[in-house]
C-alpha cells in the first residue's frame, strides 16, 4: 500500500484503507476527539503568571543550579551535594511545617487572582490562614474600582462541584479581610463578583477576579 493511499485514508477516504491501518485508525480517532482541540480560556495565562509571580515573590523558588555547572561536578562533589541536599531537605521540611502550622497560626496558603475571560483586566492576591474562628482571608486587589450606591463586591469560595460559600462583601479591594467557615482545601477556588443590593442573595455571576489554590 502506497504512502498516497495511507494519506488518503488518514484524510477520510475509507476506500483507500491500507492493510496495516491500526496506527492510522488511532490517529483518526485522536483527531476526532474534542479534547485534542480544547483551547484554554483567555484568562488562564494571567492566572498562571500571577500564581508563579506570587510564589516567586514569596521566595518559594528552589535554588537554580545551571545544568552546565551540574555536568562539571565530580563524584566527590556529588556525594557532598547529596549530604547538602539531605540537610536542606530536613531544613526545608522544618520550614514547611513551620509555615503551615506554626508561628502563632494554623495552616497558611497564598493565592493569586486574575480577571476571568471577558472581565476588565485586574489582578490580586489572597492570604488564607486557619484560625480557631475559621479561615481568615486577607485580600489585596487595589486595581478594582470602588463600588458604591448599593453596588458592592462579594467574595466566594467554590468547590469543584460549583457549590458557592459567600465569605464577605466590600467596596474596594485594598486590605480586605474576609472570613470563611469552610476550608480552602475543600473549596479551593476564590472568586469575587460584582453585586447589587437587590434582595437576591445568589451570585450575580459577574466575576471580576478568580484564583485557585495551587499548593
Amino acid at each position: 500500500m502506497s504512502d498516497e493511499d495511507r494519506i488518503a485514508y488518514l484524510a477520510g477516504d475509507d476506500d483507500a484503507a491500507p492493510d496495516d491501518r491500526a496506527g492510522l485508525d488511532e490517529l483518526r480517532d485522536l483527531l476526532a476527539d474534542p479534547t485534542l482541540w480544547a483551547a484554554p480560556p483567555a484568562g488562564l495565562e494571567d492566572l498562571v503568571a500571577a500564581a508563579i509571580a506570587s510564589e516567586a515573590g514569596a521566595g518559594a523558588a528552589a535554588p537554580v543550579v545551571p545544568v552546565s555547572a551540574r555536568a562539571r561536578r565530580t563524584p566527590v562533589a556529588w556525594r557532598l551535594l547529596g549530604v547538602a541536599a539531605a540537610v536542606l531537605l530536613v531544613v526545608g521540611v522544618a520550614v514547611s511545617v513551620s509555615r503551615r502550622s506554626g508561628g502563632g497560626g494554623g495552616e497558611r496558603f497564598s493565592m493569586a487572582l486574575a480577571a476571568p475571560a471577558g472581565a476588565p483586566a485586574a489582578t490580586g492576591s489572597a492570604k488564607l490562614q486557619r484560625t480557631d474562628s475559621g479561615w481568615r482571608i486577607q485580600l489585596q486587589a487595589p486595581g478594582l474600582p470602588r463600588l458604591d450606591g448599593g453596588r458592592f463586591y462579594e467574595a466566594w469560595l467554590r468547590d469543584a462541584a460549583g457549590t458557592l460559600v459567600p465569605i464577605g462583601t466590600f467596596n474596594e479591594g485594598t486590605d480586605v479581610v474576609l472570613w470563611a467557615g469552610v476550608s480552602p482545601r475543600d473549596f479551593p477556588t476564590l472568586t469575587v463578583t460584582e453585586e447589587a443590593a437587590d434582595g437576591n442573595q445568589a451570585s450575580s455571576g459577574k466575576r471580576v477576579l478568580t484564583g485557585t489554590l495551587t499548593g
Partner: protein, 184 residues
C-alpha cells in the same frame, strides 16, 4: 515548537515575560492533556494552572538540553491524575445523579504513552499552517465533508482537497505513519 535556553533560564527565575512565553508556547498543549485526563473544563483549568506552577517549582532540575514539551506533558498528566483521584474520593452523590462526564466516573486515566501520543498529535496539528489546520479541524472534529468545508470557507472544493492532502501528509510524516523517509 522551541523555547530558547535563555527563556528557560528566565522561567526558572519566575520572570513574567518568560512565564508567559512558555505558557503561550505550551498552554494549549497542557490544557489539552488536562482535558484528556479530566474531561471537564473547570478541572482542566485548575490542572493546567497547577502544572505550570509545579513546572516552575521543579524548573531548577530541568535539563535545558532536553525538549521542554514532554517534561511538561509528564507534569500535567501527574497533576491531572491527582485531581482525578481527589474528585473520585469526593464522590458521595448517588451514582445515577452524577452527570455522565463527571471526573469521578472516569475509572482509569489515560496511560503515559497515550498522553504523550496525544501531546505529539496536538503539537503536530498546532504546527500546521492556519489554512490547513482549519480544514483538518472541520473535517475531523466537526465531521464536515470537503464540499461542506468549501462552502463554509468560501473556497473551491479542489482547494479544500489539496489543503487536506497536504495537511494529512504533514501529519502522517511527522507522526511516523509513512513508509518514506523524507518528511514533506
Amino acid at each position: 515548537m522551541t523555547i530558547e535556553p535563555g527563556v528557560i533560564e528566565a522561567f526558572r527565575r519566575g520572570d513574567d515575560g518568560a512565564v508567559r512565553a512558555v505558557y503561550r508556547e505550551y498552554g494549549g498543549l497542557v490544557f489539552a492533556v488536562a482535558m484528556r485526563v479530566l474531561g471537564q473544563r473547570q478541572l482542566a483549568e485548575e490542572a493546567a494552572q497547577q502544572a505550570f506552577v509545579q513546572a516552575w517549582r521543579a524548573a531548577a532540575g530541568f535539563d535545558g538540553d532536553r525538549p521542554l514539551g514532554p517534561w511538561l506533558a509528564t507534569i500535567t498528566r501527574r497533576v491531572a491524575i491527582d485531581i482525578h483521584r481527589r474528585e473520585a474520593r469526593r464522590a458521595v452523590t448517588a451514582i445515577d445523579d452524577v452527570p455522565a462526564g463527571h471526573g469521578a466516573l472516569v475509572t482509569l486515566p489515560p496511560s503515559a504513552d497515550a498522553i504523550h501520543e496525544a501531546w505529539a498529535v496536538r503539537e503536530a496539528v498546532d504546527d500546521l499552517p492556519p489554512d490547513e489546520h482549519e480544514v483538518v479541524r472541520l473535517q475531523h472534529l466537526e465531521g464536515f465533508s470537503h464540499s461542506e468545508i468549501a462552502e463554509r470557507l468560501g473556497v473551491p472544493v479542489g482547494t479544500v482537497k489539496s489543503r487536506s492532502f497536504r495537511a494529512h501528509k504533514r501529519l502522517a510524516a511527522r507522526l511516523g505513519h509513512l513508509r518514506g523517509d523524507d518528511p514533506p
